[in-house]
């Protein structure tokens, strides 16, 4: 019980920070959104040219620093890699496409619900459905294989990337793009975002909360440990919004900030996110935390997220407040099929290998 209460409080900190960052200037219901924030960074680096979503989000820098430092101090920092990096890249790529059709990562989905956005409940149903499908593959022996120890430098790549991003944010060189209007121009003060981002990084590194893990463990092994963290996020975000952002609190489908009402595509977009998250072993924020504590495979996943964000905007896949796009709808269908094929092939391959092993052992 004490464990569950701890998870609830850890999640609560994240939920409150979500409300605080909106209060101080982040876009509506977007106190923290890992998909949106990596997408904004992708735009700031010029990898896509959607002028309204380009900003070097200090929260991401803070999350990387927070996770890196606390994992280093506690012994969780371990440099590993080599577990199906290319599959992870592709899963990260499609995950981002699904998230940008829905308009948010699973964490923003919870924060959207916490401010009354009913579309996010449709997204949540899709997310849980995607996780349920992914769990069936886990039960059948899906595995991305072992990771092995890597050179220590691998573990420093993401923290160094964060330092470079921080320099770009402060120096603002001409080749870094900053939105002058739209969501990319709406931001809490840099110091506040950086510090609260670091708190998020520390809390999530220590608690191991993962939005996919919460539902996955509940379905797979009836363990509700992490689910309590997610409930904490939701409850405290709701309270935080009622206190800090009461003017924008509204229970409705229509008129929600940076959201659309295409139920089918909210559902399927998040189905793709849930499926990819389970097959990756973690949601986007968990991947970002892991990439910062030496996990090179999670680092490759984040590069997949960045590539997915770039293509989403370059190919017109990302939704907007007016709705999803035809290109985005096609991409989600292709994504779901591609990911199912990958998962099926991995399971089939693992079965063949274990059969071959039996033959060797018995022969």
């Amino acid at each position: 019980m004490a464990d569950k209460r701890k998870m609830f409080v850890y999640g609560g900190i994240i939920g409150l920070i979500g409300a605080i960052l909106v209060k101080f200037g982040n876009p509506g219901n977007m106190g923290i959104c890992i998909a949106c924030f990596w997408r904004d960074i992708t735009g700031a680096l010029g990898l896509h040219r959607a002028a309204v979503v380009q900003y070097i989000r200090p929260e991401i820098i803070g999350i990387i620093f927070g996770s890196f430092i606390v994992s280093y101090l506690t012994g969780d920092f371990k440099v590993r890699g080599g577990s199906s990096p290319l599959i992870r890249f592709v899963l990260g790529f499609f995950l981002m496409i699904g998230a940008l059709v829905f308009l948010g990562c699973p964490l923003r989905m919870l924060l959207r619900i916490g401010n009354g956005d009913l579309n996010a409940i449709v997204g949540l149903l899709g997310y849980v459905f995607g996780i349920f499908v992914g769990v069936q593959f886990l039960k059948k022996g899906y595995t991305l294989g072992r990771s092995i120890e890597q050179s220590k430098i691998v573990g420093f790549i993401f923290p160094i990337f964060a330092v470079v991003l921080l320099i770009f944010l402060i120096v603002k060189p001409a080749f870094i793009l900053f939105s002058e209007e739209g969501p990319g121009s709406m931001a809490a003060p840099v110091i506040l975002s950086l510090v609260l981002g670091a708190v998020v990084g520390i809390v999530l590194q220590r608690s191991r909360i993962c939005t996919a893990g919460g539902f996955r463990d509940a379905i797979l092994i009836k363990d509700y440990h992490f689910l309590w963290g997610l409930i904490g996020i939701l409850v405290f975000n709701l309270i935080g919004n009622l206190v800090l952002n009461f003017g924008s609190f509204k229970i409705s489908f229509e008129g929600q900030p940076i959201a659309h009402t295409n139920h089918i595509w909210n559902f399927l977009g998040m189905t793709l996110v849930g499926l990819c998250s389970v097959l990756l072993g973690g949601c986007p924020i968990r991947q970002t935390i892991l990439a910062s504590q030496g996990d090179g495979d999670a680092g490759v996943t984040v590069l997949g997220l960045i590539a997915g964000a770039a293509f989403s905007h370059n190919f017109g896949l990302a939704s907007s407040g007016t709705g999803s796009t035809t290109n985005g709808q096609i991409a989600v269908i292709i994504g779901i099929i591609a990911v199912l094929i990958i998962a099926y092939s991995v399971v089939a391959g693992a079965k063949n290998r274990s059969k071959a092993k039996e033959v060797v052992n018995n022969g």
């Binding site: 464990d3 072992r146 893990g213 092994i221 072993g281 495979d297």
Partner: protein, 69 residues
């Protein structure tokens, strides 16, 4: 003789699933090898909920979990 489950290098949640599969196969004496703190925590929580005893030995960043009932 304890059944050995080698889950080193496996990413979340595979170590738990491998442990679960062994338990579902009516193994009551297990030695699970893992190499992350998260895997130790998750497996500990899982086997305790199933009524097993668990002890953890750490050696050079790797963990041997002795699980029995």
């Amino acid at each position: 003789m304890a059944k050995i489950v080698d889950a080193r290098g496996r990413s979340c949640p595979e170590p738990v699933i491998m442990t679960k599969n062994a338990i579902d196969n009516n193994e009551t004496d297990l030695e699970v090898l893992v190499d992350t703190n998260v895997a130790v925590e998750n497996i500990t929580r899982f086997v305790k909920s199933k009524g097993f005893n668990i002890s953890v030995e750490e050696n050079n960043g790797e963990f041997k979990l002795k699980i029995n009932r």
